[in-house]
């Protein structure tokens, strides 16, 4: 844990520090290019010229070390599930996960006979925002990302977690 993290009782100074930190972290969450299947093409389309993700500060990074948000875009299979867990661990804190598409959320159209399909990526990594759709439209993905930015702003990194 960081030196000052979660150490302080809730008071006005720490609250404003939290708001500043939350604002700083939420303005440009770089997303981790984790394109698995059809949702990856929609993620590419939303990063390209018409629905530009750079407007909301989202820049594609291809290494977990430089990324804050992991967008799991596509079907996570059993063989891939172990890699997803390992890659999530290798991301730098504070990290967030968006499960894009119904395949990543719950196995999607492959839920019934997909012996090799992981029924939902939340069995492996903690997920922050679920984006429904198969594949979700770029507008849906952008709405999910904005929802995530709101969630980052309300986080309280410095105040002690009331256990």
């Amino acid at each position: 844990m960081g030196v000052l993290e979660n150490k302080f009782k809730d008071n006005v100074i720490v609250a404003s520090m939290d708001k500043l930190l939350g604002w700083a972290r939420s303005t440009s969450p770089w997303y981790f290019q984790f394109g698995l299947a059809c949702c990856a093409i929609e993620m590419m389309a939303s990063a390209a010229s018409r629905h530009d993700l750079e407007r909301i500060g989202m820049m594609p990074r291809s290494s977990p070390r430089q990324a804050d948000v992991m967008i799991v875009a596509g079907t996570v299979t059993m063989k891939m599930a172990l890699r997803v867990k390992k890659l999530y661990e290798q991301m730098a804190e504070p990290k967030y996960v968006i499960s894009m598409g119904s395949c990543a959320t719950s196995g999607g159209p492959y839920w019934q006979h997909g012996y090799h399909v992981l029924k939902g990526v939340d069995l492996v990594v903690p997920v922050d925002v679920y984006v429904p759709g198969c594949p979700p439209r770029p507008e849906a993905l952008i709405e999910g990302l904005l929802k995530l930015q709101e969630k980052i702003q309300t986080e309280r990194p410095l105040t002690r977690k009331s256990v």
Binding site: M78, K79, A81, L82, W111, Q112, Y115, H116, L118, K119, L123, V124
Partner: protein, 166 residues
């Protein structure tokens, strides 16, 4: 070259390895598995057959207790004619010669059919699973395949017909 002539040239070249069965389509030819490698090399080298493209190898499970079958589709770029070869294996230890050294794509097609059905292709240089992970149990596409419960600690929920998630 018409399909009948193709079958004729193969039959009179390897008379004893051809099986006659009536419910086959016109372009199909059923063979026994023993001389398969020689027939395959003959089909590739023979000038007026010259099947140089192996289109597809399909593994088929004919029924819960019935035998397995692997069907080869061949096509010749030169003469633009096609043929389909069927080879039946029994269910417990399906074996057939590998044609991977003749057509290079056979390598992956055979690995996939092995992965899905468990049909062993002898003489294959590197017969491993290609789609499922290496430590996957069972042959997924067989009719009597029961999915495994647990894989590296991740539960694979079983969908019961009547009461939804288990």
């Amino acid at each position: 070259m018409k399909i009948a002539e193709i079958k004729a040239t193969i039959i009179n070249q390897f008379p004893d390895s051809v099986l006659e069965s009536e419910d086959l389509a016109e372009s199909q030819l059923e063979l026994k598995a023993d001389q398969w490698f020689e027939i395959a090399t003959f089909m590739k080298e023979d000038p007026n057959l010259s099947f140089d493209q192996l289109e597809c190898i399909t593994g088929i499970d004919l029924g819960v207790e019935a035998s397995l079958q692997s069907r080869y589709n061949f096509h010749s770029m030169e003469h633009r004619h096609k043929v389909e070869i069927l080879i039946t294996h029994d269910r417990n230890e399906p074996k057939v010669a590998s044609i991977e050294t003749i057509w290079r794509i056979g390598d992956w097609f055979e690995r996939e059919t092995y992965d899905m059905f468990g049909i062993v292709y002898e003489g294959h240089r590197d017969l491993r699973r290609i789609l499922c992970p290496d430590d996957w149990e069972g042959w997924p596409l067989r009719k009597d395949y029961e999915g495994q419960e647990l894989y590296h600690g991740i539960v694979i929920p079983k969908m019961k017909e009547e009461d939804g998630w288990e």
